[in-house]
């Protein structure tokens, strides 16, 4: 048993878990260890880590949904609320720490710089010769539209019926020319008087109106590496219990506007099969990837040795190999000479650029060099990466290969906006208080709240999104997001899942790289409709005031992706929206305030791993000796007291259950034979 009185005051904070902590009339504590504003992924992970460590947490958001710019929206929400500029209602809260300034917070919180640029829904469907249509008599095709006297003669072949002679019946419909002389009036007459609409229009209506609640639209779609910080965090925090994933089907490369989507070779088999590369390129790439893996292994081993005291399980080099992506790290693949790794480490020490190393030291062709930089190492940002950065990122990708499925990435079901919600729930389970629709007005650090402020809550630490305190400078970067909903498929056959990431290297359409994700009903982000329906997300970070038109670039990329369809498909775009938000720089005003932590949005990459890293950093600043996302001993004691032996019994029960599940089908099979 832990003697509460013997503990130092700061760590005795889990008193909030009992009912006797002082609270105000609304049930809020008079003082919190941490107040977190904004429910973006970083803040949500942090809230979970702090709550599990035993800190009292008040977590609030100005919006009426979780996730800020990491949210998942329903389609009606996106169309109605965000499209019209959102109105926020709620009370104001002032927060006090003990210093001597007052920092106002933006009423829109982390959405301060969010802006919708365009939002369109396609409604120019027309019926003409050859159009597949829905008629009151069944589905059909327009054979001809020909004038005859004062009438227009419409001939429709009905595909859903078959005559005894094997032909489809057809109907003739006469339309008075006076009633429908012009194009628009003719279309209107067809639709309203005759009930004939194109199948495209009917499907668009089905998808965007009748079944629109089936959409889960991510504000910033993020994938997870199948191994590394994010998966570890999910497991350690128990949040993995709330979520399900599917593996990404493939990584696609879009070289330029004239080319098609091509699979990126990630594994050994991919490299052999790839049509992107020449035989020479293939050999050089294989050699380089092997080197990268060996480097990664050596690097991880060195790190592990450094923290050997804390880490009880040091894996041997051999075990490390086995844990890595099996596709590349088979023991029979001869290890690259230690000399090559040593040379690589020297170049890293000498601060060489990543691309320079690939070009001059590995002698990769310009195209292969681009593929390695942008599709394998996922280089981003506006400057060239250093060799260290490039190798670290490349190794992370390579090590996550072969864990689940064919790529290194996991796609969360129902959208990546489920992640912040799951972490917030985990925080709530450990006692954090949640308040949506709440505007935090200002941070008062001198204890002098102005009369206009409704309420004050004290805290030791304060976490806010950078966006809500920063004044935007024109130099800062902006994230441009484009998404469209289309009917049909662009990858594989008519039944293939659309669950792919798309890499567009810088220079292909504009100076900046574009990242894309294709997602369909397989991960429950689009409605399950017979005609199939897919979301294409595109993301690009652009420096302000450089004279380029991000909207135009993203639209052209989307057109290239949609026209890159497989034979016989017709991908029809029925809805599209463009929005953007800023990536503000750290401001001096907040840097000097003690215990104020700003969450800095990093440029969105393919994976959401950077949020875990940032949350860990802020956690370490608040709890220097804490174990990130683990349950502290104190909390564990409280939980055990509350739940008794329930949890352990249950774990046994679960093991037993799953064992029964395994045995049962087998016994059935054997009894059947």
């Amino acid at each position: 048993m832990v003697d509460q009185t013997a503990l130092p005051k700061t760590s005795g904070a889990s008193r909030h878990l009992d009912n006797d902590a002082p609270r105000d009339e609304e049930g809020l504590l008079l003082e919190y260890d941490a107040i977190i504003c904004g429910t973006g992924l970083t803040q949500s992970i942090l809230a979970s880590a702090l709550a599990r460590h035993g800190k009292s947490v008040l977590h609030c958001d100005t919006s009426d949904y979780y996730g800020e710019l990491d949210a998942v929206w329903t389609l009606p929400y996106l169309q109605e609320k965000l499209g019209k500029g959102h109105e926020l209602k709620g009370k104001m809260v002032t927060v006090r720490t003990d210093d001597s300034t007052c920092i106002p917070l933006s009423p829109k919180g982390g959405l301060q710089s969010f802006q919708i640029h365009s939002l369109e829904r396609r409604n120019d469907f027309t019926v003409e010769q050859g159009t597949a249509v829905v008629t009151p008599y069944g589905n059909g095709t327009i054979i001809s539209i020909s004038p005859r006297g004062l009438f227009l003669d419409l001939l429709v072949s009905l595909d859903t019926w078959k005559l005894a002679n094997g032909k489809n019946p057809s109907v003739h419909i006469s339309i008075p020319q006076s009633a429908a002389s012009t194009g628009a009036a003719f279309q209107k007459y067809l639709k309203e008087k005759l009930g004939i609409v194109s199948i495209d229009e009917r499907d668009a209506h089905l998808i965007l109106d009748e079944r629109s609640r089936g959409f889960a639209v991510d504000a910033t779609p993020g994938l997870l590496y199948a191994s590394g910080a994010s998966v570890e965090g999910l497991l350690k925090s128990g949040v993995a219990d709330y979520l399900e994933f599917k593996s990404l089907e493939g990584l696609l490369w879009l070289e330029n506007s004239d080319s098609c989507l091509e699979p990126v070779p990630c594994s050994k088999n991919d490299v052999f099969a790839s049509k992107l590369l020449s035989p020479m390129d293939k050999r050089r790439l294989m050699k380089f990837l092997q080197l990268a893996l060996d480097y990664g292994t050596a690097h991880a081993l060195a790190e592990e040795e450094a923290s050997a005291e804390n880490n009880k399980q040091v894996l041997s080099l051999n075990e490390r190999y086995l844990n890595q992506g099996r596709s590349l790290a088979r023991p029979q693949n001869k290890a690259v000479l230690a000399d090559d790794i040593r040379a690589l480490q020297e170049f890293i020490q000498a601060d060489m650029k990543f691309h320079e190393y690939l070009e001059s030291k590995q002698r990769l062709s310009p195209k292969l060099c681009r593929i390695v930089r942008h599709a394998l190492a996922l280089e981003s940002g506006n400057g060239d990466w250093s060799l260290r950065q490039g190798m670290t990122s490349l190794c992370q990708h390579m090590q996550a290969l072969g864990r689940f499925g064919t790529t290194a990435f996991l796609v969360p079901m129902y959208g990546s906006g489920e992640l912040p919600q799951a972490f917030c729930r985990s925080a709530a389970v450990y006692g954090a208080t949640y308040l949506l629709r709440l505007k935090a007005a200002a941070i008062a650090t001198d204890g002098e709240a102005s009369a206009a402020m409704v309420k004050e809550v004290m805290c030791r630490h304060m976490v806010v999104p950078q966006d809500s305190v920063a004044t935007l400078e024109s130099k800062s970067r902006r994230v441009w997001r484009y998404l469209c909903i289309f009917r049909g498929k662009v990858v594989g056959s008519s039944r293939s899942p659309q669950r792919h990431a798309i890499i567009v290297p810088p220079g292909a359409f504009g100076p900046d790289a574009v990242r894309g994700v294709l997602l369909d009903e397989g991960v429950n982000v689009t409605p399950h409709v017979p005609c199939g329906c897919t979301i294409l997300h595109l993301t690009m970070a652009v420096e302000n005031d450089t004279g380029i038109d991000p909207q135009d670039i993203l639209r052209r990329v989307s057109l290239s992706v949609l026209s890159s369809k497989y034979e016989g498909s017709n991908a029809i775009r029925i809805f599209q929206v463009t929005f953007s938000y800023a990536l503000p720089e750290a401001s001096n005003q907040t840097k000097n305030v003690q215990n104020l932590h700003c969450v800095q949005r990093s440029e969105p990459g393919l994976s959401a791993d950077s949020s875990f890293e940032q949350a860990r950093e802020i956690f370490a600043a608040i709890c220097p000796d804490g174990n990130f996302l683990a349950i502290s001993e104190q909390v564990d004691t409280v939980v055990k007291e509350r739940l008794g032996e329930q949890i352990e019994e249950d774990a046994d029960g679960l093991v037993l259950d799953s064992a029964m599940d395994i045995i049962e089908p087998k016994t059935r099979e054997s009894s059947a034979t």
Binding site: L17, R213, R425, Y434, L643
Partner: protein, 201 residues
């Protein structure tokens, strides 16, 4: 408590996610604690650390295992995340028969579920604190009529004297479709990796 499967040939275990909804202090946690552990505390402390509890219901022809999710207090300031009730097969919407506001709250929860939850979710409306008959403020008939109108189950329960608590879960278990074909299970949870086997050359 429950018989273990395997004894009867058709005693297949069916797993269902069940969520609790309802305003603060209507006795959601008390219902679960009564059902799962057959205990009652007048001043139930907030449940810390219980992501979800599990309990089995034995029916004549099947075993139903509930994974019961409590709100973890997120309903208090109307801040429940949609993720909470996503994928739930059943929901118990709880109100307090001595508090008419909580019944209004329950109706809005039912609406929310019908709007955003799984289309086939089984909803049960539970009027809790039925032991406080003298302070009743929501008539049984009124709530029952509302439940019938919306095609949902309705029971009045008392976590304090255990009245109808087990029946509530049994009614839900009976209503749940037990031979619905399981959707193609391609999605997976992330599980702790086992230590790699060490049979390397």
């Amino acid at each position: 408590m429950a018989n273990h499967p395997g004894s009867a040939a058709n005693a297949r275990v069916h797993h269902f996610k069940l969520v609790l909804l309802g305003d603060t202090a209507v006795g959601k946690s008390c219902l679960v604690v009564r059902f799962v552990r057959d205990e009652f505390f007048e001043f139930q402390e907030p449940t810390i650390g219980a992501a979800f509890l599990t309990q089995t219901v034995q029916l004549d022809d099947a075993t139903v295992k509930f994974e019961i999710w409590d709100t973890a207090g997120q309903e208090r300031y109307r801040s429940l995340a949609p993720m909470y009730y996503r994928g739930a097969s059943a929901a118990i919407v709880v109100y307090d028969i001595t508090n008419p506001d909580s019944f209004t709250g329950a109706k809005s929860w039912v609406k929310e579920l019908q709007r955003r939850g799984d289309p086939n979710v089984v909803i049960a409306l539970a009027g809790n604190k039925a032991d406080l008959e003298t302070r009743r403020a929501v008539e049984f008939e009124e709530a029952n009529a509302y439940a019938q109108e919306n095609g949902i189950l309705h029971l009045e329960t008392s976590a304090k004297n255990a009245n109808n608590v087990k029946s509530l879960f049994i009614e839900i278990a009976k209503t749940l479709p037990k031979n619905a074909p399981q959707p193609e299970k391609e999605a997976f949870p992330i599980l702790q990796q086992q230590q790699e086997t060490r049979n390397c050359c």
